[in-house]
């Protein structure tokens, strides 16, 4: 828009934005570019200009959006490692290719990083000069009226019998009342405009809002980076009861996902026990049998001697804060207490065994490894029904998640349970070197132990016995440190505030010129909105109306 730049005037108060065609005289002076004479400095400057241009920002933004897509369609190891490894097992041809491209960890790949680093550089390179210009512009005068006001797209004129001075004085008061900044009269000395016009400007805060918005983006990223570099996220399953508990050291976590600059020394020292865990169940309606609320009653202490024991009711959406660490309740389930005695009558295994829920009804799966059993190791693998019933088709099922009629149903294995000797998951039984124990009454069928709490069953062949003592619950807790999260929050809030200013404050310039002409005084009114969203025609209309109305009264 040529009109625009001409009106912006030589003062270039709020400059048009890099990338717009506004000519930038500096750096391209008369001695400027002759072909072939681009020295290194000029090249760098040219590259910098390109990088910080609005068009580049736009392209980088779109690239960022595009680059984020694969991470939402391909499972990410940082988000769900289990699912990712399953996917990798199922797609053996694609996996190596994807892995090379970093598609399982999109958000920390170099190419993703490159886009947002470029964007940030572009952003800083764009903002800093604008800050300087804005600072200067704050104290500058609104620009003088352009010579041909009526050439502006939104302008209007009328003739009146009034003296020009009277019209201008009134325009000044009117505009001041509408919180315009008025150009101080320059006197005829400046030549270009005599004092036949009033210039008003408002909406300075728009540019401020825009600057705050873009600067805050940097703040958010710093906060976010702090969290992902310095923080950690870990998960642990803790059995309810005073015999179990948790001490905040690395070795106690089931899984642990530290940032790359995380150091163990920053972990907060604390311990806690889960005294009780309460679930309220939905007893009617279509979601009957599902859990509605959970409450985990904790006692935690930060001192080594636990003289500062404090109670806290941990609930979903209500994490516990201990120092810089937060503890979240994210899951729960059942741990049947099972005791295995071996062939010699010794207790080879005893304790709560965490079973993992398979669905909303808390039908759960778990294993027992009695590795100490003699003469042979004993393994159990099976399922847990919190409220056991036979359904209409005669299949075993659980009615709901509450443990009203608990039952475990286990298959038995004997033999070496860890043939490779390496670390094993506690939730899976390696039966490759073990033999399934068959039903002595029907040797074609595997032996299945269906037990209620309190029952003991002897195993055939003098292997020993299994007792189902009771059922306790466990909680899955997520424990994390996210430093920088307050910074990020402040950043986004500032971002929003800046954005509101940037989008809804309309920077506007208004001019009124009054000149003595043949048929009286010719009054010209024009307005310019530089945001491209305002309705300047309406501004002109109402200003003309106001000027004329005041005269009549």
């Amino acid at each position: 828009m040529t009109q625009r730049s001409s009106v912006t005037g030589p003062e270039g108060r709020i400059p048009d934005f890099p990338g717009e065609e506004s000519p930038e005289p500096d750096g391209q002076g008369p001695d400027g570019r002759r072909p072939g004479e681009l020295n290194l400095r000029e090249m760098l400057r040219w590259a910098w200009r390109q990088l910080t241009s609005m068009r580049t920002a736009l392209v980088l933004l779109l690239l960022l959006a595009l680059a984020a897509v694969p991470g939402s369609l391909i499972p990410q190891s940082g988000v769900d490692s289990l699912k990712t490894s399953r996917w990798q097992d199922a797609h053996t041809t694609l996996t190596p290719i994807y892995r090379k491209l970093g598609l399982f960890d999109v958000y920390s790949t170099p190419w993703f990083g490159a886009i947002y680093v470029l964007l940030m550089i572009s952003l800083i390179g764009c903002i800093l000069p604008r800050l300087r210009v804005y600072w200067r512009g704050l104290r500058a005068q609104p620009p003088a009226a352009p010579r041909h006001l009526l050439r502006l797209p939104d302008s209007s004129s009328y003739t009146t019998a009034e003296e020009p001075e009277a019209v201008l004085a009134r325009a000044r008061t009117l505009l001041k009342k509408q919180r315009y900044r008025i150009r101080a009269s320059t006197g005829p000395a400046t030549g270009e405009t005599a004092d036949d016009a009033v210039s008003g400007e408002r909406g300075f805060l728009r540019e401020a809002g825009n600057l705050v918005f873009h600067l805050s983006i940097i703040l958010v990223l710093v906060g976010f980076a702090m969290g992902s570099l310095l923080g950690y996220k870990g998960g642990v399953i803790v059995v309810v009861g005073k015999d179990a508990g948790f001490t905040n050291t690395l070795s106690q976590y089931d899984d642990f996902d530290p940032g790359s600059l995380f150091s163990e020394s920053r972990m907060d020292p604390f311990t806690f026990n889960i005294d009780d865990f309460k679930v309220s169940w939905i007893n009617s309606g279509p979601k009957r049998g599902m859990a509605k609320g959970f409450k985990s009653e904790l006692t935690y202490c930060q001192k080594a001697d636990c003289s500062d024991a404090t109670k806290y009711d941990l609930r979903v959406n209500h994490p516990l804060k201990i120092g810089g660490t937060e503890v979240f309740l994210i899951g729960h389930g059942y741990a049947p207490v099972i005791t295995v005695r071996d062939g010699q009558g010794n207790v080879a295994y005893s304790g709560p065994t965490v079973f993992l829920p398979q669905n909303q009804t808390f039908f759960s799966f778990g294993v027992v490894k009695a590795s100490a059993a003699k003469p042979e190791q004993i393994g159990l693998q099976g399922v847990f029904y919190p409220t056991f019933i036979m359904d209409d088709d005669g299949n075993p099922a659980t009615l709901m998640g509450n443990d009203l009629n608990p039952l475990i149903s286990m298959h038995v294995y004997a033999g070496d349970l860890n043939p490779t000797g390496g670390p094993q998951s506690v939730y899976a039984l390696d039966t490759s070197a073990a033999k399934q124990v068959m039903n002595p009454d029907n040797p074609k069928q595997p032996l299945r132990l269906d037990m209620k709490p309190g029952q003991t069953v002897a195993l055939p062949n003098g292997l020993g016995s299994v007792t189902f003592d009771s059922v306790v619950r466990w909680n899955r807790l997520q424990i994390s440190q996210s430093p920088g999260k307050d910074l990020a929050l402040i950043g986004v809030v500032l971002c929003l505030v800046g954005l509101l200013g940037s989008l809804f404050i309309r920077p506007r310039r208004v001019w009124v010129r009054a000149r003595r002409g043949e048929g009286g005084t010719l009054v010209e009114v024009a307005a310019l909105d530089r945001s491209g969203g305002g309705d300047t025609a309406a501004v002109v209309r109402s200003l003309v109306e106001a000027l004329q109305k005041e005269k009549q009264s």
Binding site: F17, G19, E20, A57, L58, L61, L62, A65, A68, V69, G71, S72, L73, P75, Q76, V79, S81, L82, K233, G235, D254, D255, G285, P286, K287, M290, A291, K292, F294, V316, N317, H318, P319, E326, F328, L329, I330, G331, H332, P357, F362, P423, Q424, S425, V426, Y427, Q478, I479, S482, K485, L489, V492, V493, C495, L496, L500, L503, G532, G533, D535
Partner: protein
Amino acid sequence: MTDTSWGMLSNQAVGAAGVLYFLALIAHLVEWSALSARKRVPAEALVGAGAPAEQPAVPVDEDREHRVALFGRLGFLLTLIALAAHFVALLGRGMAADPHRVPWGNMYEFTLSGTFVVAAAYVVLYRRFDLHWMAPLVVTFVLVCLMIAVLWLYEPVAQLTEALNSYWLVIHVISAILATGAFTLGGITSAVYLVKARVGPRETGWMSRVPSLEVLDRVAYRIHAFGFPVWTFAVLITGPIWAHQAWSSYWNWDPKEVWAFITWVVYAGYLHARATAGWRGRNAAILALVGMATLWFNFIGINYFSTTSQHSYAAPAPVPSTEHPALAIQG
């Protein structure tokens, strides 16, 4: 009233709203067809001649003009009544749950609320932006979405599970729905912009009532400029706050979050495009449509394509969770 009768009322109100929107659509179609019959000057004479649509060149057929105006008003009136029924439907959903709650526990309710906001925004802005030209598009959109909701997304009234029971969620979802409504209206405007830019000014038919490109561009910008901060608030402030409380980390790169972010970035691109020479107008309008596509893909697509999403309405309970059991190592 009992919970069940509130639920039934809601279902009936959805039906009534559907019928009323349908009638409104018919009224607008009659209006529309009357417009296209308004042929006085050969259309070709004007197409491409750069004649602004406002030029009062056509000798007017009073009767027809009258009919156009009448059906236009009738359509708007029907839309208003439909909107009231639509509101009753939402209210009924909320009252039917025990305890009462805001009506967006699943996709059915989200669609009900989202379409309500689109229709309400249209009604509210009708005068301010002179939106009569948008009537058939908005009504069709709302009607189609309601039909999809009733046919495929319907779920009986249910309680919210605990993770969904948070006032941050209420604020989060209200703002997300509001922004979705605004972006949808803005997208419709941008689509019309593109169509109009292609066919050029028309003297007859529905296109003749569509305002000039400049006005369309400005209206689209204003609506998007409203939607963008609201979306920012929804997905970058309240969303993370709630996620932090419920899942312990405020940004998870969960597919739903990723797409909300993509939508945000695309609309930031739109706002930049409007300020960049060579990108204003047509390209900006295309970007607005891309933004709307990502928005709706996030709403519909992600729930079906992605099973990792913790936002999936299909499995609302965050507990039990068996996220990383395989990592637990026995020493």
